[in-house]
């Protein structure tokens, strides 16, 4: 009897190995509709589709996004959308993309090379046409050979979020415009107030260190081509320029702030959750985060009016700039059925133009003509610098050099992490470190065909 049991158990397991057909045949479905051709609420209102949307914003899937689905269904009643929030988004999404049938809409990850975009995502339109409705320089991230594959959900400005009351108490009347002024101001805060840290780096969270890489191009140089000519193709981009501008100035600011004790005592145990409340009620002076943080920090306590936002303190030839750039982009799976792709396009168009997502998150909308959100009105007057796209044929160059050098600019935060570690317990100076980075970068450039 028991013999039979063992044998049948084995048999069941073996057959189920073959019986489960969950795979779908994946092939690219040709599309001839582009996003600009759709008139929301008029075209395709009868379309039926069940869409799966992969998102990194796990925190609002059940709240804000549910509201969006309801609103959208007023125009397109037969389209069902199911959101799937992924926690470790950047890592997981790459694994899922390799299979080809991961859903219909996702936030395009930066790990996909430009020349691979067409293999995974649907063409949303031609850059020239789309630039009439959306800010052109925001479309560049996922455009290849003038075909746009991704549209930003919103745009961020990179600057410093600070507590106005703390700055006032420390006697700072004017916002700092150079790194030296900034460091002096932090010192004043340390001397005259009893904050836990004038500048809180939130080192332990990891992604907060990557945030520092965002300042080194446009905002630090005023040059929208810096990412290409200065970084990807330039010689020794991390060297000291002598005039308090450029990547060196940004990294040196972090180094000096940590070295002079103007940051938290123990970087290894910083608490992101708690820091939001502390910045709100004046226990922290400022933090280096993108504009998306303004709304979050305002909501973290009772002193929403004390929250201010300034651009990174660097002045180039007498002018101040702020790096701005698109946040995560929406992309559509080119392997989905034609109806799904069209329905997805309608939804994306609605999200970008009508949902109010960007403003709600404290970011800029990419639609031409939309206003700045309330929180960022203070940045009026600062020139926003958005990076220009790479030249044709060189789209992957920056990514390749970045990977080969292992500096992980905007990817891993390896550089700012090293800065904090060396400033706290290491022996290397900022000059030694930047010489190292230059060396690695040059070697990576050479192996990718860039010579000086």
């Amino acid at each position: 009897m028991k013999r039979m049991l063992a044998a049948s158990l084995a048999a069941v397991m073996l057959t189920s190995l073959s019986a489960c057909g969950q795979k779908k045949a994946v092939e690219k479905q040709e599309m001839d509709v582009t996003i600009d051709q759709i008139a929301l609420g008029e075209d395709y209102t009868d379309i039926e589709a069940d869409l799966k949307f992969l998102t990194h914003k796990t925190d609002v899937v059940d709240t804000t996004f549910k509201g969006y689905i309801e609103e959208f269904q007023k125009l397109y009643p037969k389209v069902n959308i199911e959101y799937e929030g992924i926690t470790d988004y950047a890592n997981d999404i790459t694994t899922r993309l390799t299979t080809g049938d991961w859903g219909d809409i996702c936030m395009v990850p930066t790990t996909v090379d430009k020349d691979e975009l067409g293999n995974y995502f649907t063409k949303l339109g031609d850059k020239g046409t789309l630039a009439k409705s959306y800010e052109e320089n925001m479309l560049n991230n996922f455009t290849y050979q003038d075909t746009v594959y991704g549209i930003p959900s919103m745009a961020n400005v990179q600057g410093i979020i600070y507590n106005k009351a703390v700055f006032e108490k420390a006697g700072i009347t004017e916002l700092p415009k150079t790194p030296d002024e900034f460091l002096d101001d932090l010192q004043k805060i340390k001397d005259k107030t009893d904050v836990e840290a004038p500048l809180y780096t939130n080192f332990a969270a990891g992604w907060t260190m990557t945030a520092w890489d965002a300042y080194i191009d446009g905002g630090a140089t005023g040059d929208p081509d810096f990412a290409n000519t200065g970084l990807a193709k330039g010689k020794d981009p991390f060297a000291d320029r002598g005039d308090e501008t450029g990547p060196y100035a940004v990294y040196n600011t972090l180094y000096e702030a940590v070295k002079r004790g103007l940051t938290e005592e123990d970087p290894t145990t910083t608490d992101w959750e708690g820091s939001k409340g502390k910045l709100n009620n004046g226990e922290i002076g400022c933090m280096a985060l993108g504009s998306w943080s303004v709304v979050q920090i305002q909501q973290a306590g009772e002193h929403a009016d004390d929250i201010g936002y300034m651009t990174f303190p660097i002045t180039v030839n007498g002018k101040q700039y702020a790096s701005a750039g698109p946040d995560y982009n929406y992309g559509i799976n080119c392997n989905s059925s034609k109806d799904n792709q069209i329905a997805a396009m309608c939804y994306i168009k609605w999200l970008v133009e009508k949902s109010g997502f960007a403003q709600g998150e404290g970011g800029l909308s990419v639609v031409i003509g939309d206003e700045y959100p309330e929180a960022l009105k203070a940045l009026d007057g600062i020139e926003l610098v958005v990076n220009n796209p790479a030249e044709a044929g060189e789209e992957n160059l920056f990514n390749d050099i970045n990977n080969d050098s292992e500096l992980g600019i905007n990817v891993s935060g390896a550089v700012p992490t090293q800065i904090v570690e060396e400033a706290v317990s290491g022996s290397k100076t900022i000059e030694e470190m930047s010489a190292e980075w230059n060396e690695k970068w040059t070697a990576a450039q050479e192996s990718n065909g860039v010579t000086h």
């Binding site: 084995a10 332990a204 290894t268 145990t269 570690e421 317990s425």
Partner: protein, 325 residues
């Protein structure tokens, strides 16, 4: 009718039955092993010969990745950190064995003690990073308890920032988490020891310590040796504690943390695979050495240790020579 009976008795006959039994019983485990472990393993070896990312084309570059593994400074540097974990795992083994032995006999409230000491293993991985970050934060859990014991706050170091001790801090969390598992495993193994042996020991007047050395230890040596092997290999390939608590920063990044960074952040999948293969070869060498020691000193299964066999042979030779004279 007749055929059926013959078939049945043929199956039940000694040799065929034996072979059938072996085959059927091994079929599923070995299949699962091959499909989910060995096939990916060979694929990974394949990856190590290419310069590749997760998405996109790959370029065959032969042994270049391996040369890079040996010439980079950070790879083998990270292996040194494994020493901390090896020491930690031996401490963990000793503690687990101690508590298992104590709790296998009549102790008041043993159920409660077992439950509490098993607690750490039950905590879901997600919360571990959170728990220990706050455990080691200045002035929080650990510092507060030490202050009760009379230490001054100023004397206490920064557990995770101070590079001279942060590896000890992280290795200690590994002991905390896995001691309970080891203890339960040893308790189970101790259960396999024939109870009548203890009675015999009592008659001979053995005390608890002697019972431990002469009755328990020899009878669970298979498990102990396995544990030692797993500890060493686990220490060489440790990943979760440093990754979850410090992300590998401030000098706590072990070999695997570095490998993971290379694969996911710099997209150097080929190089990361090569690193994994190199480590595996190291682990295999370490395991072979250990198995050699095991065979020599302890003996495998019911076989006698080689040491004893050699000793006996020598004795017999001496007697034969003595007798012949």
């Amino acid at each position: 009718m007749n055929e059926k009976k013959n078939f049945k008795s043929w199956i039940q006959s000694g040799k065929v039955n034996r072979k059938l039994c072996i085959f059927v019983f091994m079929l599923i485990p070995v299949t699962l092993l091959v499909v989910f472990t060995y096939i990916p393993f060979f694929k990974m070896i394949g990856f190590s010969f290419y310069d590749m990312k997760y998405i996109g084309d790959r370029e065959f570059i032969g042994l270049q990745n391996y040369m890079e593994v040996f010439t980079r400074k950070d790879c083998f540097q990270a292996l040194k950190l494994s020493l901390y974990y090896i020491v930690a795992s031996f401490i963990q083994l000793a503690l687990a064995l101690y508590f298992a032995s104590v709790l296998s006999f009549k102790v008041k409230g043993s159920g409660v003690f077992k439950g509490l000491m098993f607690f750490p293993y039950l905590v879901c991985g997600i919360a571990v990073g959170f728990i220990f970050k706050f455990f080691y934060t200045r002035g929080f859990v650990l510092d507060t308890v030490l202050q009760w014991c009379g230490f001054n706050l100023d004397q206490l170091p920064y557990w995770l920032k101070d590079t001279s001790i942060n590896n000890i801090s992280v290795a200690a969390t590994s002991i905390w988490r896995y001691m309970g598992q080891g203890m339960v495993m040893f308790i189970g193994a101790i259960m396999s020891v024939d109870a009548s042996l203890y009675e015999a020991g009592d008659i001979d007047g053995a005390n608890s310590f002697q019972k431990f050395i002469y009755i328990i230890l020899p009878n669970i040596k298979t498990i102990i040796v396995l544990n030692m092997i797993l500890s060493i290999t686990g220490s060489l390939s440790v990943f979760e504690p440093p990754y979850v608590i410090t992300g590998g920063d401030f000098g706590t990044g072990t070999y695997f943390v570095i490998m993971n960074k290379l694969a996911h952040e710099s997209q150097k999948v080929g190089l990361a695979s090569a690193m994994a293969v190199v480590l595996l070869i190291l682990i295999m060498i370490a395991t072979l050495i250990q198995k050699g020691i095991e065979k020599y000193y302890f003996g495998v299964g019911d076989a006698e240790p080689l040491r004893e066999i050699r000793k006996r042979k020598k004795r017999l030779e001496l007697e034969a020579r003595g007798g012949a004279r």
